[in-house]
Amino acid sequence: MILVNKNTKVIVQGITGKMGASHTKRMLSYGTKIVGGVTPGKGGETVHGVPVYDTMRQALAASGATCSVIFVPPYTTLDAACEAVDAGVELAVVITEGIPPQDTAKLVAVARAKCVNIIGPNCPGVISPGETLIGILPGVIFKPGPVGMISRSGTLTYEIALVLSDAGHGQSTCVGVGGDPIKGMGYEELLSAFNEDPATDVIVLIGEIGGSAEEEAARHIKEHIRKPVVAYIAGQTAPPGKRMGHAGAIISGGKGTAESKMKAFTAVGVKVATTPGEVVEMVAAARAQSVGR
């Protein structure tokens, strides 16, 4: 598995909010090591037994956490995430949706300078099934296994994980990178991480229309990735010029079509599924083949 495992200690920023509190409960019941929460002015309280601190510096000093998951409102996310970076986390998972993208760009610049990984924003988080769940993914859908997943989508990831799990293809780690045009970790670094991960045999990449990240991922796969990759692109029938839910999901100026992305993957030998069901078939085939080798 990559990024996170059962020993990862996590702080929840915005833990006293409605969403922060309810997902803290879910994560705890999954077994995630939630060792603290942060809400300014609420230090000293507890949420589902988790101690709340006023600042990230305090929370990290008290707990030794290396990861933060962020549920604060969109206009204070840049501040909260910079606080996490400055306090010394190695990974910050930003769940918050609706962050102005220039704030995200600033966060990315600050995080890069300090070599801190950001996942998200506007993402479901990351899960290493059976080990830890950091974010809002429904833990019950995911099963341990050798499939690494990377996705720009939330519920579509659950859909595909569901059919994969049902068919006996559990997951090493699933990472939702988020649906915003500007984001932290992208396909390329995660593909490389799965490529190096001994627990991962097959990688499923779930893309969607908009931007050129999938095309760049295809180039990266060609040059650096040895493990089999199965890709699925949502929005094959999306009309051009319309934002399809995600801020990043838009075909503009003829760029960012599903067709272009599918073509790019096919050209480098990546199997491209057109339905979740086909993803399962292709993963099964890839696993069979890798066992055969």
Partner: protein, 375 residues
């Protein structure tokens, strides 16, 4: 949020970028009060692109012809966007045209300058496009680097760089997704000015940009009436030419459902993402707005519960069926409290289908039943 040209220009002016003198008119007779002297340029104020090609920009040699032209332009609809007004400007003596914009670059994850030594054209088709990533925090040298890469020299390079700094300032201060000047004109007097411009304000930033408070409802552009209503409710609806209304939670899942419908022979009529929460009111609104569309023969609801509780969705469905007993619904629900939901739905005569592909098949089959029987 797309702005009209005249709004973009007043923002340019607000940040110290020179714009040509101009007057906005809404009646042909208003032209009589303008004293720039003929010929004048008359430009449709619309929210869509391709205005020039569609004949939305005309030159009026005199008042009589001008009023005629204004009348025609005021009646135009370009790319689904009705003319809001006409911007009237005197003709500018152009020595040179450039292109300049600031936007966010997905790949680099930062803002970029895009420039071209050829303005006025479709920037995508120009071979001379230069992009310069903008580090955070901004310093003016980035704008000078852009001017140099555009091949500009001397005082023109200095002027264009200074203007680019102002454009970036507007971009950052107002949370723009795009601040574009096309063409950026160098006059025969070596002034640089924004002859035409486009600004897109980031929708997620509208809540903190006081300047745009209340603007959204007037800037929905080419959205249909139902799309506009959904947008104002915070829902993302896209209407399509088919007959299967699709409602899902999550953008990716909605697209995937559409794709499956199409793949298996159906025709999606809507893309509608009801979002992550299990807000009954929102789900109800979503169902109603899809049902309103006379094209829609069958509604395919696909909810994969993560955060969403299935029983909450079921309650909204039961309510909807009470009000719309004739609606054809195919319900795929899976997640928390699935069993409770199943029980609730069966009392309304609805079947809960846990598998997506099956649900898609059923929706398509229902859409193929002749309309008279379906309603």
């Amino acid at each position: 949020m797309n702005l009209y040209e005249h709004e973009a220009k007043s923002i340019f002016a607000q940040f110290g970028i020179t714009i040509p003198p101009g007057v906005r008119i809404t009646k042909p007779e208003d032209l009589r009060k303008i004293h720039f002297g003929f010929p004048l340029t008359l430009k449709c104020q619309v929210l869509s692109g391709g205005r020039g090609k569609a004949g939305g920009i005309k030159f009026a040699p005199n008042l009589k012809e001008g009023e005629e032209i204004a009348r025609t332009l005021l009646d135009m609809t370009i790319g689904g966007s009705r003319t809001e007004s006409i911007l009237v400007e005197p003709k500018v003596s152009i020595a040179r045209e450039l292109y300049l914009s600031v936007t966010l670059d997905r790949t680099r994850g930062c803002p970029i300058f895009i420039g071209s030594a050829e303005g006025g054209v479709e920037i995508e088709s120009s071979g001379k496009v230069v992009t310069v990533p903008i580090p955070y925090p901004f310093q003016p040298y980035v704008a000078r680097d852009l001017a140099q890469r555009l091949g500009l020299t001397g005082s023109l390079a200095v002027k264009v760089a200074a203007l680019a700094c102002k454009l970036y300032k507007a971009f950052e201060t107002l949370d723009l997704d795009l601040a574009e000047i096309n063409p950026l004109v160098v006059t025969t007097g070596e002034d640089v000015l924004a002859l035409d411009g486009k600004i897109i304000v980031n929708d997620d930033a509208l809540g903190r940009q006081e300047q745009f408070k209340g603007w959204q409802s007037k800037h929905l552009g080419d959205l249909t009436e139902r799309e506009s209503r959904s947008r104002l409710m915070g829902l993302n609806l896209v209407e399509l030419p088919g007959d299967i209304g699709i409602l899902c939670n999550g953008a990716g899942l909605t697209m995937a459902t559409m794709d499956m419908v199409k793949k298996f022979g159906g025709n999606p009529a809507t893309f509608l993402d009801v979002g992550g929460g299990s807000d009954q009111e929102k789900t109800m609104f979503a169902l109603e707005i899809v049902a309103e569309n006379p094209q829609v023969k069958v509604i395919l609801l696909n909810i994969l519960g993560g955060i969403t509780a299935c029983d909450d969705v079921a309650e909204a469905l039961v309510g909807f069926m009470k009000k719309n007993p004739e609606a054809k619904l195919v319900v795929r629900l899976r997640g928390n409290n699935q069993e409770v939901a199943e029980e609730m739905l069966s009392q309304s005569g609805l079947k809960l289908i846990p598998d997506l592909q099956t649900a898609v098949g059923e929706a398509i089959a229902k859409s193929k039943v002749p309309t008279c029987a379906a309603r």
